[in-house]
Structure formats: structure tokens, C-alpha cells
Amino acid sequence: MAEMQRVGEVIEASTTGFVAQCYELYQMPPLGSLVKTRDQSAELYGIVYNAATTSLEPGRRPIARGKDEATEEEIYRSSPQLLKLLKSEFGALVVGHRQGDRLYHHLPPQPARIHSFVYLCSPEEVNEFGQSFDFLNLLINSRLPVPTEELVAASLRQMSQAYEDRRGFLVAAGKELAILLSGNLNQLKAILGRIRQ
């Protein structure tokens, strides 16, 4: 298996999702990408639904510093402490897990553990995970701060990159969505509009 890219560490976890903090500021995985983390017995798969960069201390808001600087990069160069005072975090929705050799597209028995490492999945893993569209149901039915259709579309766009036949993958996913969203045509149209090739 290819060397996995470590993107962060779990700092908050529940059955349905986890929040991870990135090691480097702004080095967040893209919206909708598939990440995984390890529990003792299982590997948990999550889809990145949200990311944020905030001050380390909740009470201290960053202030504008660039008045006398020529470029944005200059700001960070002249105040290197900024990189230590800010943090980037992302939230992932748990959409499946692997136990032993088997991949399950439903919630794991245990949530992730704090300080577990979070990795970006390799294209091979994304490909394997995308063989079943059962995770779409989890995405659609979750209550998240981001619009569902945005998240679904983003995750499918991301996932399709792992496939040679991108269009074929998206059509198949679209068909699954058409069935799941048979009662909500507006949502279906919105998603299809965002993933069409």
C-alpha cells in the first residue's frame, strides 16, 4: 500500500463523526475527501464536511495586521508567531469502517479515540470504498452546518477522481441518489447540477 498522508489528529470524537486538528496551519484535506483513522480494532472512514481555521484561544480573535505590508505573505513573515497562535481543524462524518478485511458502509461500534492519527485515503482505498453507494444515505440524512447537497456533490467529485471512468462513476452515483431522493426532486436536481460533467 502506498505511503499514507497523515493530515491530523483526532481532538474530538463521537459515534457519528470526529474533529481533527491539522499539524500544519491550512493543511486541511479538501471538502468531501475520504479520510480514515484507526481505532484499536477497526479503521474508521470519514468524509470531510467542514474545516475551519481559528485562534488557539477562543477568547482571542486575530486582528488585521497587513496595513503596512505589501503582500499577504509578508504578514506571516513579519509575525511568525501567528502560525503558532492559529489552528486549522476539520470535521469528518463517519461513513464506514473496516474490520479485518471487510469494509462496512455503516457506523462502527465505537467512536474514534482522541489523538488517533488521521490519514487521507489513497486513490486505491477511495476506489474500493466507492464500490458501494450506501454511504450516500448517511450523508443525506445527517444534520450538518454545511448544505447537504454541497457535501454530497463534493464527496462524489472527490471520489470520482479515483476512477478511470469518472463519468460512469458519477452516473451510477446519480442513479443511487435519484432513488434515495425520489421524494425530494429539488435536492436531487441541485446535486446533479453540481456533479455533472
Binding site: 463519468r167 458519477l170 452516473v171 446519480g174 442513479k175 441518489l177 435519484a178 432513488i179 425520489s182 421524494g183 426532486l185 436531487l188 436536481k189 446533479l192 455533472r196 460533467q197
Partner: protein
């Protein structure tokens, strides 16, 4: 082979035995490739079902989609929605079960008594399935055509066919004549029956013409030793260079009062005139009455006779005018040297098929008169022979099939009870005589006669009454109705009844090319015929 074996179409989603089952089409199968009339198999849990597609429709998962249609100009969206939000449904009527249980294995396909369970897979029937149901071409089965979009041969069970009266229907120009010619060839080829064809337009005996005006061979050219051409119009036959075997002449003494009764409509006779015919026949005798009546001269004597027979003068005038029309038919003579009925029977007894050409006399009066007159005599002889055969345990006469065109003239509700054809259609099966009825207005045929027909072959019909009368009494009528009205106007026919296990739409086999002729005449027979000719030549030097 281009035909994909067992191509999957979809799954059963609902249905009933009476109304047939609904099949949701898979998104991979295009609804535009599906045609009504095609055969399918349904893989039930315990049995395989065989049936026909009778309707195709479009479904929507949500009615809102119909109100706000998505942007299908985008191929991606169109592809996603096809088969999911929008899908095709097929209406299928399962008619047989094939394979699966013991009875089917032993006795072949069985009629359905149940429906397949939910979500059974539906496939297009494979060549093998169709062969299993319709059988292969053999001694008794004749290849009539192919199912739609398939190369398999659909075979008619001719032994079963000739046991009952049959009908060929269709609008003018849809290929009735070609179909009939095929059926006749089939009967000749398999020698299941002898035929007597009343050939109104002289197109079955020697040669006919197709729509493009090209000549096509007819029976005598294909089976010279098995077919005799009789003619009413020698001159026309000679002009068309047809070698005829016998010239039919009919004497006045052959015409009986019943024959006139049948001509009531065409001769415009009143009911009283028909009654008068019987009185005159009683007065002058069955043999002489026409001659005697036509010989009556205006005068006191005639008046006295009419008064004595209580025939009104206007009735007499009406009848007389009718008889004059008959007298003008050139093939009618006061006396004939030969008896056509005897001749026809001789040929039929030998197993030779007889085609009677009408030449120029395509007038319906001539046709009805001759067909009815000859059939009545032949019917009487057959009846006698059959009764004798039953009494003496001898071999019964060969099954005889009488082909009549414009059948509604003989078999309409008003005359069907009087004509010999009505009787044959209703009961003559027992006496080995059946009819092959050709007609373009089946609604004009008595419903009792229609209901007795064993096998009906129908080309395109578009009049509702005609369609209803052809399909009367058959199960799944409404489904077949949609199939029938969607037939192509050429070379397609719906066959249902005794000779086929399930109703079937066929593309009739090719007729008219040298290749097709070769197929019609069995090879060994053609050679045997040549050998026999050679033997005869040698024998007589």
C-alpha cells in the same frame, strides 16, 4: 448470431393472472428497443414463464417530475434519470410455463395457472425458448414465419390446423393472399389435407402478382403433380397461358332453390321471390325449374299458373329479373355434358388439390353461386362417405379444406344459417371438411361461425368492429387488441388458436424469390417426382 441470448429486460413488480404482469424495465434496457408482440421469459422461483409483451408504457417515480421536467438536454442528467426517476414499464401476459416442473418436462409447455413471484427476472426469450414452445419444422409443422426481431422459425401445427375451420383476415393489401398461399403450400407440403380453392381473382392456381407487379409462382407451378387448375373462364386462362385441367360448366339443372336463396342480396330479390322459387321448383321439379320459369311467356297461361301458385305478379317480375342475371353468366348452360362435382371429387379422392379459377367472372354473384353450389354437392358426398366409413369401419375420406374469399358474403348473420358454408363452419369438422375463410371485413361474419374457427391468422385491421369480432372470446383480448392494431401493414400477422400454443406475431416468410420456392418443395420429393416422370417415359418409350 446478433441476437443476444437471454438479454435481461427488468423485473416483475406487480400483476395478476387475469390482467398480466407489470415489468419495470432496467435502466440498461432501452424502452425504444422494445416492441409489442415480442416474446419474453420470466424466471420464477419454481417455474419459467413464457409470454408476450402486450404494452409498453412510461413511468415516473414522482408526478412532480412531469410538472417540472429536468434539463434532459444534458446527457448526464438524462442518463442518471433514465431507469431511476423515469423508467419504462412493460405489460406482459404470461401464457405458458416451460421447464421447471415434471409435467412440463414430460408434456411440453403448459398453460399458466399462476403468476411469477415479485421481482422475478424478465429476459427476452432466446431462440431455444421459442423453439421449445413452437416446435421445429417437421412432418406436421410448417414454417410460416419468424417472430419479430428473431431468426427462430415459428411453425404451425398443420394436423391441428386442418381439424377445424380457420380464418385469414386483414385489410385489403396487407398480405392475405400471400399468407393464404403459404398456408396452402404448407398443407400441400405436409399433405395433411386436400384443398379446394375457390379462386376469385385467379391468383392461387398458376401464378399471382406481388405489390410491385412482379409475377410470383402459385401452387401448380410449385407442385405440378399435386394441383389441378379448373377454370370457369377458359378464354381468360388461355390468355394468361395457364394450363388448365378442366373447364367447369354448370347446368341449369344443377341449380337448386337453396342456391337462389343465398343470392337474395346480390340479386336484390325479395323474400317473397325466394319463397316463389320453392313453389316453382315443386311445380316443375328440382332439375327443370329454371329452364321452365325462364321459358314462361307472358300470357293467360302464365297468369293462371301464378295465380294457382299464389305468386304475386311483382314477385314474379322480381324473380324473373334475378334469373335473367344468372342466365347471362356465360358458364351456365341449359345442359352440361360433364358433371363438375364428380370431376372435382375424383381429383380430391386421388389427393390432388383443386383450384377453381373464376377468370373474368369476378362478379360476386357468380362466385357465390358457384362456390355454394359446388360445395353443397361435395359436402353431401363427403357426408355420405364419412357415414359409410363409420358404419363399415373403413378409412374415412381425406380431410378437405375449402378456401373461400370474400367470406362475409357467405357467412354474414343473415345467410350463415342457410348456406352450406355456415353448416361446414359449424359442424363439418366431424365429416372431415373444414373451411379456410379469407376476408377483409370479419365483422360481417356471423359471430357463431367466428367462434367456431380453430385458428385465426390476422394481418393489420384498423376498424374497431373488425378487431373485436376477430378477437371475440379469446383470453387477453385487450392486450392482443393493442398488438393487432400495431402490426405493420405488410408481412406481419398475428396468429392465435389451435395451431399455435400461444398467440404470436410473425413476420411472414419470404415468398416470391427463387430461393423461397426451393424451400417450399421438399428436395427428396422434387427428385422423386422427376424420377417418376423418367420412369413413365421409359415405360412408354
Amino acid at each position: 448470431m446478433t441476437q443476444q441470448e437471454n438479454q435481461r429486460l427488468g423485473i416483475v413488480v406487480s400483476g395478476s393472472l387475469n390482467k398480466g404482469v407489470e415489468v419495470k424495465l432496467d435502466s440498461s434496457a432501452s424502452i425504444e428497443d422494445i416492441a409489442v408482440g415480442r416474446f419474453i421469459t420470466i424466471e420464477g422461483q419454481k417455474r419459467r414463464f413464457f409470454g408476450m409483451i402486450t404494452d409498453v408504457s412510461l413511468g415516473l417515480i414522482d408526478q412532480k417530475l412531469a410538472l417540472t421536467p429536468p434539463d434532459v438536454s444534458d446527457p448526464f442528467i438524462a442518463e442518471v434519470l433514465a431507469g431511476t426517476s423515469t423508467f419504462g414499464t412493460l405489460h406482459v401476459s404470461p401464457t405458458l410455463t416451460i421447464g421447471g416442473d415434471v409435467a412440463t418436462l414430460l408434456e411440453g409447455p403448459q398453460p399458466v395457472k399462476t403468476v411469477p413471484s415479485h421481482f422475478s427476472v424478465v429476459n427476452l426469450a432466446s431462440q431455444r425458448d421459442v423453439e421449445l414452445v413452437f416446435g421445429k419444422e417437421d412432418k406436421e409443422r410448417f414454417w410460416i414465419g419468424n417472430p419479430l426481431d428473431m431468426e427462430t422459425k415459428i411453425c404451425l401445427d398443420l394436423a391441428e390446423l386442418v381439424k377445424r375451420s380457420n380464418g385469414v383476415f386483414g385489410k385489403s393489401g396487407t398480405g392475405k393472399t400471400f399468407l393464404t398461399r403459404l398456408l396452402l403450400i404448407g398443407m400441400l407440403q405436409k399433405a395433411t389435407a386436400v384443398n379446394l380453392v375457390f379462386d376469385m381473382h385467379s391468383e392461387y392456381g398458376w401464378e399471382g402478382r406481388n405489390e410491385q407487379g412482379r409475377k410470383v409462382k402459385a401452387l401448380k407451378q410449385l407442385f405440378p403433380s399435386k394441383v389441378a387448375v379448373f377454370t370457369l373462364d377458359e378464354e381468360s386462362s388461355r390468355r394468361r397461358k395457364v394450363s388448365t385441367d378442366f373447364v367447369v360448366r354448370i347446368g341449369y339443372d344443377d341449380i337448386e332453390p337453396e342456391d337462389i336463396g343465398l343470392l337474395r342480396q346480390t340479386l336484390n330479390l325479395t323474400e317473397a321471390s325466394v319463397q316463389a322459387v320453392y313453389q316453382l321448383a315443386r311445380e316443375f321439379g328440382d332439375k327443370r325449374w329454371i329452364e321452365a320459369t325462364l321459358g314462361l311467356e307472358d300470357g293467360d297461361e302464365t297468369k293462371q299458373l301464378l295465380t294457382r301458385l299464389s305468386i304475386h305478379d311483382s314477385t314474379y317480375r322480381n324473380l324473373r329479373r334475378g334469373l335473367e342475371t344468372i342466365r347471362r353468366l356465360p358458364f351456365l348452360l341449359p345442359h352440361t355434358p360433364d358433371n363438375p362435382v364428380k370431376r372435382i371429387l375424383e381429383y380430391l379422392d386421388r389427393g390432388t388439390n383443386v383450384v377453381l379459377e373464376f377468370g373474368r367472372y369476378t362478379d360476386i354473384t357468380a362466385y357465390i353461386l358457384v362456390a355454394n353450389l359446388l360445395s353443397r354437392r361435395i359436402h353431401a358426398q363427403y357426408r355420405e362417405a364419412m357415414e359409410k366409413a363409420i358404419g363399415e369401419d373403413a378409412t374415412p375420406p381425406r380431410p378437405l379444406v375449402i378456401t373461400i374469399e370474400e367470406a362475409h358474403r357467405f357467412l354474414n348473420p343473415e345467410v350463415a344459417s342457410q348456406t352450406i358454408f355456415g353448416t361446414i363452419a359449424r359442424e363439418m369438422r366431424k365429416y372431415n371438411v373444414t373451411l379456410l375463410v379469407i376476408d377483409q371485413r370479419p365483422s360481417g361474419i356471423d359471430s357463431e361461425v367466428m367462434s367456431q374457427m380453430g385458428t385465426k391468422i390476422t394481418c393489420l385491421l384498423d376498424n374497431d368492429r373488425d378487431i373485436d369480432s376477430v378477437l371475440a372470446g379469446i383470453s387477453g383480448k385487450s392486450e392482443l387488441k393493442s398488438v393487432l392494431s400495431k402490426l405493420e401493414s405488410k408481412q406481419q400477422a398475428l396468429i392465435f388458436g389451435h395451431a399455435v400454443p400461444v398467440p404470436v406475431v410473425v413476420r411472414t416468410r419470404e415468398y416470391g424469390s427463387a430461393e423461397s420456392y426451393k424451400d417450399f418443395v421438399p428436395k427428396d420429393e422434387a427428385e422423386a417426382g422427376k424420377q417418376a416422370e423418367k420412369d413413365i417415359e421409359e415405360l412408354w418409350g
